[in-house]
């Protein structure tokens, strides 16, 4: 197994190095998940932007494979001082309790002390399967973890890892007996990604390679600390101009002012959008955010945060709301200085 340089000894200094880390992650995921390059890119953007992803698609479309591929792209490190695992998976069911994911305090009869047993949430990459099948109680327990990167059990807060990254899935059709996520909770997810069925060529490729020995093991892995350092560096180095920020505000205004929405997008979504845009610019080889990034990310960023009037298509709505601000942004580049 190829090892990477020790992230602690030589901290990242250039964007090219961050880009290389992302490329390593991407290559490994692409190897395991065929025909999903667009989703892989968005997952990577979300990972580097410190956001969480909600995947919506049909059973058997490769959600778990995707999440596992990401988890396995990290170097297996011994559980650190905080005891954070690399990858965990939780299947949400109606009878799940909050303590089933956060962990419980148990009484150790040998030492006569209460000790905290960590739940599955103490992981760098957490796959939450069928998030809408569990009760709101459990959903909101996850909420604190996602927002604060900590869990509180018996009034004691426990830090989660810096990398804490949630990939939740839900089935768009089979909604009987589910607890649909409220808008406030959806707003915690950076992206909601809708996965279409992969194209026939890729599907055939999946069948051919299934069960064969995986050469992916040869591909370089990534240290969790590298991603955390990369996050910080790209946030500092990738330039977001005044005009692009203005464009985001314009889009938000357009989404709020239309009669087609009952509720527009939150300010939090704009705040979260900035690192996402920076990451995409980085992945595209740029050190500045451009209108292309705004256009590409607007739909996964905003569509799931809107409460629509009946009969309104979110796709068309976001497309329409983009037009004016993007045009204004483009105009600004040849306007007076």
């Amino acid at each position: 197994m190829m090892t990477t340089k020790d992230p602690m000894s030589a901290p990242l200094s250039t964007l090219d190095e961050v880009r290389a880390i992302a490329a390593r992650l991407r290559d490994r995921m692409r190897y395991d998940v065929i025909g999903r390059d667009d989703i892989i890119e968005l997952v990577l953007i979300s990972l580097f932007a410190d956001g969480h992803v909600l995947l919506e698609d049909y059973p058997g479309s490769g959600k778990t494979t995707l999440a596992k591929a990401l988890g396995h792209a990290f170097v297996e490190e011994p559980e650190d001082a905080h005891g954070i695992a690399t990858f965990r998976r939780v299947q949400f069911t109606p009878d799940l309790l909050p303590s089933d994911i956060t962990g419980v305090t148990i009484f150790d009869t040998t030492t006569n002390v209460f000790t905290f047993r960590r739940g599955p949430v103490f992981a760098s990459v957490l796959l939450v399967d069928e998030i809408n099948r569990t009760s709101p109680k459990v959903q909101s327990a996850l909420l604190e973890a996602m927002a604060e990167k900590q869990v509180t059990v018996d009034n004691v807060s426990h830090r989660l890892g810096d990398l804490f990254f949630v990939m939740a899935t839900q089935n768009p059709l089979d909604s009987v007996g589910t607890y649909p996520l409220p808008l406030a909770q959806l707003d915690r997810f950076l992206f909601k990604l809708t996965m279409k069925h992969i194209d026939p060529v890729s599907e055939l490729q999946v069948l051919k390679t299934w069960g064969h020995p995986r050469v992916a093991m040869e591909l370089p892995k990534v240290h969790r600390a590298e991603v955390v350092a990369g996050r910080a560096l790209l946030r500092e180095k990738v330039f977001v101009s005044q005009e692009v920020q203005q464009c985001l505000v314009d889009i938000a205004t357009a989404l709020r002012d239309t009669k087609r929405t009952r509720q527009g997008v939150s300010t939090r979504s704009l705040v979260q959008a900035i690192p996402a845009l920076q990451t995409r610019a980085l992945l595209k080889g740029r050190d500045y955010v451009s209108s292309d990034d705004v256009e590409a990310l607007a739909f996964p960023l905003f569509a799931h945060r809107l409460e629509l009037m009946p009969g309104v298509n979110a796709d068309a709505l976001v497309r329409d709301a983009l037009r004016g601000p993007v045009d204004k942004l483009a105009r600004s580049t040849i306007g007076v200085e």
Partner: protein, 685 residues
């Protein structure tokens, strides 16, 4: 959006209305019914077929095919239908042609406009065109057409103009609302609002009751009804006789009036024999010396056969006080010229008449022939045709037999003998009701000779024609000169409507040959109110004081407008080219350089579209100008990113490369057009 069934029906009804308006005067009743059924059917079938997947051409071919089938079927029917009664063949053919043609046409049109909205405009044009077609005669605010509407309005004391305007505008707006697409609720609301608005305007329009006399009481509708014509010609309907006569026009004479007892204002002549009576010649080949058209804009001129040495030229101005179907002028009018209405509140229309006025008595024409040698046999036959009743010839032979032997064979003397007989033996009466029914002229002439001007005129013309003398009936107004004042204005009243014979004398032309029966049971008509005559004459001569400022007509300053717009356009062009030049040579900043490249793209029709990002624009044009993509990247790096010295250095070179690639990939003609395009930069965004 698919229309609801009610809207489909309404649209169909609208198109049906248009079809009826178009075909009303052209089609037989079965044809009309077939056309309506075809149109409505087309609307419904089109609604059903709206989702059918067929190409544009198919609809057009289908519609044309149906129309052709109708024509073909009708042709076959009339070719092989000789064993059928002709009326059946005619009506079936009419129904087939119209039914299938309208069905095909409207099916294609409805389908096209449901698929491509732009075709709704054609539909709209069809409907609005139908209304406009019906109102086409309503011009210059002079004649209120169509008459059935304006007559209704007049008889209810409403100004016809608002009625016509409201109808026209409502029809157009309703059609536009129905045919052009709009949301259903909004359309319904707008239609209700229009309906209420129309009613409101009608109610408001009803307030100013008119002080002018009502047209249908005047009996001036001389050409509207063909049946029972003699009766309708009678202007002095008995039930109106106790009312004072209504003035209908004032004639202002510009020359001294010749000596005459009666001033004849001729309106039309009737020379074509149909059955037992004379009508206006429908072919237009004869009586071409009588102006019948209304002078709309330009003068109407005719050639008259009147010989100058027997006539004097008279110039008069006519001012109509009521709506009148045909124009009339004193003597033998040669030219009618429209003039501005000096007082639109008082007069309906104004026009000048140039006419020939006969100044020699008929006794001076003795010895002349009647049928000119240059007349064609058809012309001669036309003016000497009389009903195939042997009694006319018998009577006229008996009358001319008694003349002075010195004048035997003289047509003028023969005519005078006939005139003498009718004047001596005839009895002028409006009361005789026995003259209704078939052949009223024969009833009158070979009966008790009680009748009025129309009977006398017809009888005289038939007797003259039986002697081979060309003659015709003139109708119009006969004004007794003894009863009018000395002024130069002649007031014409409705009860002066008259019919009189005209005969043709070689070397003179048409001669007014009125029969004045010696006996009459009519009271002499009252003297004309001279004050009224003078006042109206004054009014006609000069405009009312409050419209004086209109007396100098507004002339459109074409030259000023032309040069002004030319200067404006060339100024704009210079400005546009100036802007283009300044922007073309933009230097010094990546923004100006990039903008210059964008201008070059706009000039050849490749500007960035609204809502398109710079990157997408560059990608779209990558095939034509590959360097445009890196140029855009460098430009955006400078615009959105840090100040990048490397990108700054590249911009100029990339811009040059882009321009070169663009030049190579653009066809020469397009490049030339782009070079001269003054407004390309306007579309740069």
């Amino acid at each position: 959006m698919k229309d609801s069934r009610a809207i489909v029906f309404l649209k169909g009804a609208l198109l049906c209305g248009a079809v009826v308006l178009y075909l009303w005067s052209l089609a037989t009743p079965p044809g009309l019914v077939a056309a309506v059924v075809g149109t409505l059917g087309a609307a419904l079938v089109a609604h059903r077929l709206e989702d059918a997947k067929l190409r544009l051409l198919s609809w057009v071919v289908l519609g044309a095919g149906l129309g052709l089938t109708g024509q073909l079927a009708a042709g076959v029917l009339s070719a092989f239908g000789s064993f059928l009664p002709p009326w059946f063949t005619l009506m079936t053919a009419d129904a087939l042609v119209l039914g299938l043609t309208t069905f095909g046409f409207f099916l294609a049109l409805r389908l096209l406009s449901s698929r491509w909205h732009v075709f709704s405009i054609v539909e709209l044009a069809v409907v609005v065109g139908a209304v406009a077609h019906a109102f086409a005669d309503h011009r210059h605010m002079r004649i209120h057409q169509p008459r059935f509407l304006s007559d209704w309005a007049w008889s209810h004391g409403i100004e016809p103009e608002p009625v016509l305007s409201v109808l026209g505008v409502t029809a157009m707006a309703v059609s536009a609302l129905l045919l052009l697409r709009a949301s259903r609720a909004r359309r319904l609301l707008a239609m209700v609002a229009l309906f209420l608005g129309g009613i409101l305007v009608l109610l408001l329009g009803e307030q100013p009751r008119l002080d002018v006399p009502k047209a249908d009481e005047l009996g001036v509708r001389s050409n509207n009804s063909d049946d029972d014509q003699n009766k309708n010609d009678d202007p002095k309907n008995q039930n109106k006789r106790n009312k004072p006569p209504e003035p209908i026009a004032i004639a202002v004479l510009h020359d001294d009036l010749p000596e005459t007892d009666v001033l004849y204002f001729r309106q039309a002549v009737r020379s074509k024999l149909v059955g037992d009576r004379l009508v206006e010649d429908p072919s237009g080949t004869f009586d071409s010396d009588v102006p019948t058209r209304f002078p709309a804009g330009s003068p109407v001129q005719v050639q008259t056969p009147q010989v100058p040495e027997f006539h004097r030229k008279l110039h008069t101005s006519m001012f109509l006080l009521v709506d009148h179907a045909q124009l009339f002028g004193v003597g033998f009018p040669e030219a009618l010229t429209p003039v501005p209405n000096p007082n639109p509140r008082r007069f309906v229309a104004a026009y000048d008449v140039d006419s020939q006025f006969l100044i020699r008595p008929i006794e001076r024409m003795l010895g002349r022939g009647t049928v000119p040698a240059e007349w064609s046999p058809a012309q001669r036959a036309h003016y000497t045709e009389y009903p195939p009743d042997p009694r006319y010839a018998e009577l006229s032979e008996r009358l001319v037999r008694d003349v002075d032997p010195r004048f035997v064979g003289d047509d003028v003397v023969k005519a005078l003998a006939i005139k003498q007989y009718l004047e001596k033996e005839g009895f002028y009466s409006l009361k005789d009701k026995t003259l209704e029914g078939s052949d009223p002229v024969a009833q009158f002439l070979f009966g008790d000779l009680h009748g009025y001007c129309v009977h006398f005129a017809h009888a005289a013309v038939f007797l003259l024609r039986s002697q081979g003398i060309p003659a015709r009936v003139a109708i119009g107004y006969g004004v007794q000169t003894q009863q009018r004042g000395a002024g130069s204005a002649v007031l014409i009243f409705a009860n002066e409507a008259h019919a009189w014979p005209e005969m043709f004398i070689e070397g003179v032309g048409w001669v007014t040959f009125d029969i004045a029966p010696e006996r009459s049971d009519e009271p002499p008509s009252p003297h004309v109110d001279q004050d009224l005559e003078a006042a109206l004459g004054e009014l006609a001569r000069k405009p009312p004081p409050d419209t004086l400022e209109d007396s100098t007509p507004f002339v459109i300053p074409w030259a000023l407008l032309g040069f002004g717009s030319l200067a404006l356009v060339s100024g704009a062009l210079v400005l546009a080219f100036g802007v283009k030049l300044v922007r073309r040579f933009g230097r010094g900043s990546h923004r100006r350089v990039y903008r210059a490249v964008l201008d070059a793209l706009s000039d050849v029709g490749q500007p960035r579209r609204y809502g398109e990002s710079r990157e997408h624009h560059a990608q779209r044009l990558a095939a034509r100008a590959p360097s445009f993509v890196p140029l855009t990247s460098a430009h955006l790096a400078l615009a959105f990113g840090h100040d990048d010295a490397q990108a700054r250095a590249q911009v100029d070179a990339l811009a040059r490369a882009t321009r070169q690639e663009l030049r190579r990939s653009t066809p020469f003609l397009l490049r030339l057009a782009g070079f001269f395009n003054p407004v390309g930069w306007w579309f740069t965004r």
